[in-house]
Symmetry: C2
């Protein structure tokens, strides 16, 4: 771990001179922190997948339900924690703080309470999180508003994540070590890419279904008004 002396506190974040006066290093090993996160995601995926067999849903719909339940958990718990405790997490040793301190090596905006990052994550935690769970519930129950919710959540995720990438590109990737295999490629590029690619796919699917049902609705209304006029 590379360190920078700033106000007496060495830390591994970029740009090198950034001040994080209350920083305390993680005391959990990397594998434990990442292992816990991915194990929890795995358990949620497995439980949701098994639960969804009880409903009359196709494989695609079951996969989409799994996606939204995982999103609900990550947005509400992990990003909700960031939204509430971003200004103190650099000095905290809770599991969630240690996850953010590890992730912050790829993007120090999470450690320095960057304005855009805090606001975007607050919307993600407060709006996208609960809406993700409502979307999963709507798909499981074949509710008529399921595509409205799927489109709404996916657009919010896509917008937030696009801005997240764009702002960092515009600032010359200065908040992390460029090309670092774990911090840049895995944390910053790979993990966030899920919230670009999957929402884009789900926006396309929702758009197709919404247009399909609107087409039938319009046809039905035209038929009814012709019947009435006869």
């Amino acid at each position: 771990m590379s360190g920078q002396k700033q106000q007496g506190v060495p830390h591994p974040y970029f740009p090198r001179g950034v001040s994080i006066p209350h920083y305390v290093p993680n005391d959990r090993p990397l594998l434990e922190i990442l292992g816990l996160f991915f194990s929890l995601v795995g358990v949620v995926l497995f439980v949701t997948w098994v639960y969804s067999t009880r409903r009359r849903l196709g494989v695609t719909d079951r996969l989409i339900v799994c996606w939204f339940v995982v999103c609900g958990g990550i947005h509400s718990i992990l990003e909700g924690y960031f939204s509430l405790y971003h200004d103190t997490l650099a000095g905290s040793s809770s599991y969630l703080a240690q996850m953010w301190k590890e992730y912050g090596k790829g993007d120090s905006r999470y450690i320095t309470s960057d304005t855009f990052t805090v606001c975007m994550e607050t919307i993600t935690a407060v709006i996208d999180g609960p809406l993700s769970l409502l979307t999963a519930h709507a798909i499981l129950n074949h509710a008529p508003h399921r595509y409205f919710l799927q489109l709404t959540v996916s657009l919010c995720q896509l917008y937030g994540d696009s801005l997240y990438y764009m702002t960092e590109i515009r600032e010359g990737f200065k908040h992390g070590e460029l090309w670092h295999p774990l911090h840049f490629w895995f944390y910053f590029v790979f993990l966030n890419a899920f919230w670009i690619i999957i929402p884009l796919t789900l926006i396309g699917q929702a758009g197709k279904r919404i247009s399909q049902s609107q087409s039938l609705y319009d046809k039905d209304r035209r038929t009814n008004s012709k019947k009435k006029s006869k």
Copy 2:
């Protein structure tokens, strides 16, 4: 106009010490700048309203078409100009630059090429602008994807504008003179409020219509599968 000496250039922007070395004051009077903007909006509204009488649309749909055409113009032209020329507009005297230099008195992030502002405005110009015009076209033609587009554009506008307000609130309104009747209340609060209130209303309307037609579609599919199974 209040000025601040910074690198030899007096300017009217906040916070007082912010550096805008290439700043050139507007040479057009305030009334001309605002008059031109609101006259153009008025002309676009009038022409769209008159044009929409040719189609079989209700008053609400015609008003929504007017809204999206005005949005298409503002996003593509005014915000498109900002997205392209934000780094030089403080020194320019074109009409569009003078509009932004006037608006910037309420929010200097438009004069200093603030990262979040440039990225958000680029999405607005490149995505929201063309999509607004496509939405107006879709409503005029009663296209089956009209509510999909209406929901997509309105969510993008709401997300961008919410972040715009939130980031400035979090930074303590430091980029403009707080409580200034024109710069704070009219430019920053009032003008931007349109892109919160109207999108929220249009999201609600689209959600209702999407659910309605999906409900009919699901019923239709159930009826068809029962017929087949008999």
